[in-house]
């Protein structure tokens, strides 16, 4: 009478041969290729990640093995000089010491930070502490402030001439006495800076812990401590382990704090920085970057694959476990006390920064003054404006790319999906210095390989989709048009510095005009319907503006020099630069978008004209990819934009993934069944539902951009300055109060942005989306 057991072990057939699996992969891509929007999204994300994450990382670390004093092809220049230093008698001890210090710092920070984070989380979730809203906000402030803000204020308060140590406690620091500098101060600052990451993760896990498990243990006779030891803690292990590993990585990647406060102790990130900034030895920097990359990568992999797979607590579920409260005072009060003390410390530290910017001469004269602020306004306005402009400009770029990647990762199946996910997270996980060096090495000169690859992929994409089913024609078009384009590209510089812009922009406009003329002449194949001509005109217009904008920007700059120096003069001068930035996007990157738009332009063309237009468009893409100095981005603002985007990408991707996972896929399928194609479904169903998360992603990206240091420190130039780097240089010159003023400005701007986010999600979306702040970590 039993029902047949469901056959879960179906006959699993033996692994199909290589050919069959290749065929199947091809078919998968063919399916994606039915949807050009999807294909171009995939192409765009893949290219973006390759060009700005994989390639720089590779160049950044591989360069450590190439002798830069010689010239010649790479295989003749292999050198293990700097790696060998770890083992030789002269350099060995110091190098090994640095390595050991780095690991020790990481372990101590990770341990301390996880413990502190756990205490905070436990207090907030289970101890019913008064004022928990404030505690939560305070715990989050370190995540959104500049990386060395706390080091700065620690020194102000507890340094050799600190307010607390020198003035209040009257301590004196001579040689041999232990001061705040060194491993102890460094670890302390790092713990306070990073513990919130652990706090957010452990808190999320505690909240989602099913109370019935502990209740079951109770009913089986276990006492509170026993339950904690045998039930609660083991279930939290993935969260705790995850936090530990994450903190370890963050600590290793930290550049700002070690530079300020590590004293005689040197750690790898600082050593890399000094190799570039002090010794101009890129080979050494790359070799060290390679050494730093290894533990980072290993820990990162372990955290992703071992820890997250073992999680027993559903992370996407709604919080259910918040109802257990601890009543025993001997447990509650120690936890609450530690939490309050830490909060107090945080408040005091930040207050020190703000007050420091107003002190006449910190350490000597504490009377408040606006002197330093006025100085900053005169000198530092450019920095602040540049940073805000670039952060804001990079934000939609990063958020959009992150959302596209999240969509591809959650909603589509294809080979290499895991790789896409992994690489997008890698960009934010590796120490920024490594990425910075990589950018410098990769983009100082034209990376021909990358540019060539870019063109080939885009040309194949356009040819295949424009001339389907005609392999031979596709190949011919790519070869001929490509060749012509490359040839034209060589001519472009003769038209002046903005030559490529004029050439390409003009060509698109000509196409637009040709289309318009054909329509007027009533050509049979329809000519181009109005919107296509307009599209071509817009494309051409945009590129042309890249050249024409000079005629607006230069007069602006001249005017700014003629008005009296001060805030407005600076502002006007900078603004002329910003205008140019908006229009002079590197052409190879514009080519990616234009490749897709070209497909739209070709819609409904047939026969000969289709062939001709395709060829022209491919040729134009070639020109865009090869004209001038494509992708030699060092010194331009675009390299900073790229660095920002790469660093904040993981946060946007996580926000997008979390939001998409909460949407039942059958909702999108339902839209499909009702006749909505992929774009309609996205516009009318998916987008409204993920809007809160999208917004959160935007704000977190902006925050991350404003507080970046290690990735962009090598990318700044005379024309483009970043506040965090300015803080560093001011500090080195002894301008403590100016440094504090800069820091305050960043903190305030970031807090305003977060405030806007809170307001919008609470009031406008009325809690339609739950914004999870762990995503900002």
């Amino acid at each position: 009478m039993a029902v047949q057991l469901p056959g879960f072990e179906r006959r699993v057939e033996p692994r199909p041969g290589l050919r069959t699996s290749l065929v199947r992969r091809y078919r998968e891509f063919a399916l994606i290729a039915r949807d050009p929007v999807l294909l171009i999204s995939l192409l765009y994300c893949g290219l973006f990640l390759f060009v700005f994450v994989v390639f720089p990382l590779f160049r950044g670390t591989a360069n450590g093995f190439l002798d830069s004093t010689q010239s010649g092809p790479w295989f003749t220049r292999l050198s293990f000089k700097y790696i060998a230093r770890y083992f030789d008698a002269y350099y060995g001890p110091y190098s090994r010491q640095v390595f050991t210090s780095t690991l020790v710092m990481g372990l101590l920070t990770a341990t301390g930070g996880t413990i502190l984070g756990f205490i905070f989380a436990y207090t907030m979730v289970r101890c019913n502490a008064p004022g928990s809203r404030f505690i939560h906000l305070l715990a989050l402030v370190p995540t959104v402030s500049p990386p060395f803000a706390l080091a700065l204020s620690t020194i102000l308060l507890f340094g050799r001439n600190g307010l607390v140590t020198a003035k209040l406690l009257g301590m004196e620091f001579g040689p041999g006495k232990n001061d705040i500098y060194g491993m102890d101060g460094l670890v302390m600052v790092q713990i306070i800076t990073f513990f919130s990451v652990a706090y957010l993760i452990v808190r999320a896990m505690l909240e989602r812990l099913d109370p019935s498990m502990e209740e079951a243990a109770h009913s089986l006779g276990a006492g509170k401590l026993h339950i904690f030891r045998t039930v609660t803690l083991p279930l939290l292990v993935p969260g705790i382990a995850g936090s530990f590993l994450l903190l370890f990585v963050e600590s290793l990647a930290d550049l700002g704090n070690p530079l300020f406060i590590s004293g005689n102790v040197t750690v790898l990130s600082a050593q890399i920085f000094l190799a570039v900034a002090g010794e101009y030895d890129y080979q050494k920097a790359s070799a060290l970057a390679f050494v730093l990359l290894i533990p980072t990568l290993v820990v990162f992999l372990v955290q992703r694959y071992y820890v997250t797979r073992r999680s027993y607590v559903s992370v996407t579920g709604k919080p259910t476990g918040g109802h257990i409260t601890v009543r025993e005072p001997w447990i509650r009060w120690p936890f609450i006390t530690i939490t309050y003390l830490t909060c107090l410390l945080v408040v005091v530290l930040y207050a020190a920064i703000f007050y420091g910017s107003f002190a006449s001469a910190w350490g000597v004269d504490y009377t408040p003054t606006l002197h330093w602020w006025r100085l900053m306004a005169a000198r530092g306005v450019e920095s602040v404006l540049d940073t805000t402009f670039l952060s804001a400009f990079a934000t939609p770029l990063a958020a959009l790319t992150g959302m596209i990647i999240a969509f591809l990762v959650v909603r589509r199946k294809f080979s290499g999906k895991d790789a896409l996910d992994f690489v997008s997270n890698l960009g934010g996980a590796v120490p920024g210095t490594i990425l910075g060096i990589g950018f410098v090495l990769a983009f100082s000169t034209v990376p021909t390989f990358v540019v060539g690859l870019l063109f080939v992929l885009l040309a194949i994409f356009l040819a295949r989709l424009a001339l389907p089913n005609n392999g031979r024609m596709q190949a011919i078009v790519v070869a001929v048009a490509g060749g012509t384009g490359i040839g034209l590209a060589q001519l472009a510089p003769y038209l002046g510095q903005s030559g490529p812009f004029y050439l390409v922009g003009g060509a698109y406009l000509l196409l637009a005009v040709a289309g318009w003329l054909r329509r007027r002449a009533g050509v049979r194949s329809g000519g181009a319907p109005p919107w296509r001509t307009r599209l071509l005109a817009a494309m051409g217009g945009y590129v042309l503006m890249g050249g024409l904008i000079e005629f607006i920007a230069q007069p602006m700059a001249r005017i700014s020099r003629s008005i009296p120096p001060g805030f407005w003069a600076n502002f006007l001068f900078q603004f002329s630069d910003y205008l140019k930035t908006f229009f002079q996007t590197p052409l190879p990157l514009v080519a990616i978008i234009f490749a897709f738009l070209s497909l739209l332009v070709l819609d409904r063309e047939t026969g000969r004209s289709r062939l001709a237009i395709t060829g022209t468009l491919v040729a134009l893409i070639a020109v865009m990819c090869f004209a001038g100095k494509p992708l030699a981005l060092i010194g331009t603002p675009y390299i900073i934009l790229a660095a920002f985007a790469v660093r904040s990408l993981p946060a946007s991707v996580r926000a997008g993934v979390a939001a998409l996972q909460q949407i039942d896929p059958s909702i999108e399928e339902a839209s499909g069944m009702l006749g909505g194609d992929a774009q309609y479904t996205f516009r009318k169903v998916t987008l409204p539902l993920i809007l809160p998360a999208l917004l959160a992603g935007l704000i977190f990206s902006f925050t991350r951009h404003m507080t970046s240091l290690s990735a962009i420190i090598f990318l700044i130039s005379a024309r483009w300055r970043i506040v965090t780097a300015s803080i560093l240089s001011e500090w080195e010159q002894g301008g403590v109060s100016i440094a504090a003023a800069y820091s305050s400005v960043i903190i305030v701007l970031v807090l305003i942005a977060i405030g806007v986010l809170y307001y919008l999600t609470r009031r406008v979306f009325k809690g339609r989306g739950d914004v999870d702040l762990t995503l900002g970590a």
Binding site: M1, P6, R10, V12, L674, G675
Partner: protein
């Protein structure tokens, strides 16, 4: 035939990454226009995968799907002129009831007038008039289900697909809704494919029942055929309850067979397939096909368990080495036998079905 599935096969790469799993293994089906066909089977039998292939969410590894004579394999879901009701209803949380139901009509850019009329008509059909402005989170499960149904029906699709739409409802509501669905489907005459693992639903709703197991079709037939003349032991066991009694063919001819079973000879209708005399066979004896306290008994059984359920009395009766579950439907129930008692029983011969031994 309106909707035709030809030799559909669907293979997925298996979870571990090694090898493949065949979810659907050669399904062929002819569905008449206006019929409601149920795909019935246990979890993992391939019914949902088949439905998703019809809808266009999965691409068949092998095989073809034809709608009204035209192959639709290459059409994406939004161009197939079919509607689907999902197990989770998949109501758009950011639109109210009216906007949800009107969604598909908005995609087709119909006029405001037409949309209003059609939505009103279908809302009346599912008895949701007056709920136009409600948000989905203000609706009960049953109401959400009706919104999902209305949204699918307003499109006047060629085929209506339903993926276990009632499994999230409580028992009483489920009964109500399944009669509703059947009533509406019959009234509109929409060809429908319904997936479920609940055989009571299948029996109540269907014109044709397709019993599936491990990716293959075990039997296609009307509820009566599938119940009274199951093609395989699996079908007999899955639909309703069955006792399987081993016997041997003594004699056959004239559309009936003499089977020796339970120590007696029973005259049953001939089997569907050819079975040689002398072969061992399995008799499908449903619980209601055994007469207890018979005056012309086939055998004497010992009561192993007795349960009074109100509308039936159930016995587990031991006969030789067979344990038969028997259900006695008698409003009066003069006698309810105790455990250990012996009772004479008789098989109601013309209901019994003969299956060859597998």
């Amino acid at each position: 035939m309106y909707l035709v599935l030809q030799d559909l096969v669907k293979r997925f790469p298996s979870r571990g990454g090694v090898g493949e799993v065949t979810a659907v293994d050669g399904i062929s089906l002819d569905i008449k226009q206006g019929d409601l066909v149920t795909l019935l089977g246990p979890s993992g039998c391939g019914k949902t995968t088949t439905l998703r292939m019809i809808a266009g969410f999965e691409f068949p590894t092998v095989g073809q799907i034809l709608l009204d004579g035209k192959a639709i394999n290459d059409l994406p879901p939004h161009r197939r002129d079919m509607s689907m009701v999902f197990q989770s209803y998949a109501i758009f949380p950011h639109l109210n009831v009216f906007e949800n139901i009107a969604y598909g009509l908005n995609v087709q850019k119909k006029s405001r007038e037409e949309i209003r009329n059609r939505v009103a008509a279908v809302m009346e059909l599912v008895e949701l008039t007056g709920y136009e402005n409600r948000q989905p989170n203000q609706l009960s499960g049953g109401q959400q289900q009706r919104v999902a149904l209305a949204r699918a029906l307003v499109m006047e699709p060629k085929v209506l697909l339903m993926d276990e739409p009632l499994s999230n409802l409580d028992a009483k509501l489920r009964e109500q809704m399944r009669t509703e669905i059947r009533r509406i489907q019959k009234r509109l005459g929409i060809t429908s494919v319904y997936v479920t693992h609940d055989q009571v639903e299948a029996m109540t709703l269907s014109d044709q029942v397709v019993v599936m197991n491990q990716g293959k079709i075990e039997q296609v037939g009307t509820p009566t055929v599938v119940y009274r003349r199951p093609a395989t032991r699996f079908v007999a066991d899955f639909i309703g309850r069955a006792n399987f009694v081993t016997g041997m063919v003594r004699d056959q001819g004239n559309g009936s067979m003499a089977i020796e079973a339970l120590g007696a000879t029973v005259q049953v209708p001939a089997s569907r397939e050819e079975i040689p005399t002398g072969a061992i066979v399995t008799l499908v004896v449903r619980p209601e096909m055994v007469e207890v306290d018979s005056e012309r008994p086939h055998a004497v059984a010992t009561v192993h368990r007795a349960a009074y359920l109100g509308n039936v009395v159930e016995y587990d009766l031991l006969v030789g080495d067979h344990l038969l579950t028997v259900a006695e439907h008698d409003p009066r129930h003069e006698t309810i036998h105790d455990e250990g008692a012996t009772v004479p029983i008789r098989l109601i011969e013309d209901c019994i079905y003969v299956l060859p031994n597998e």
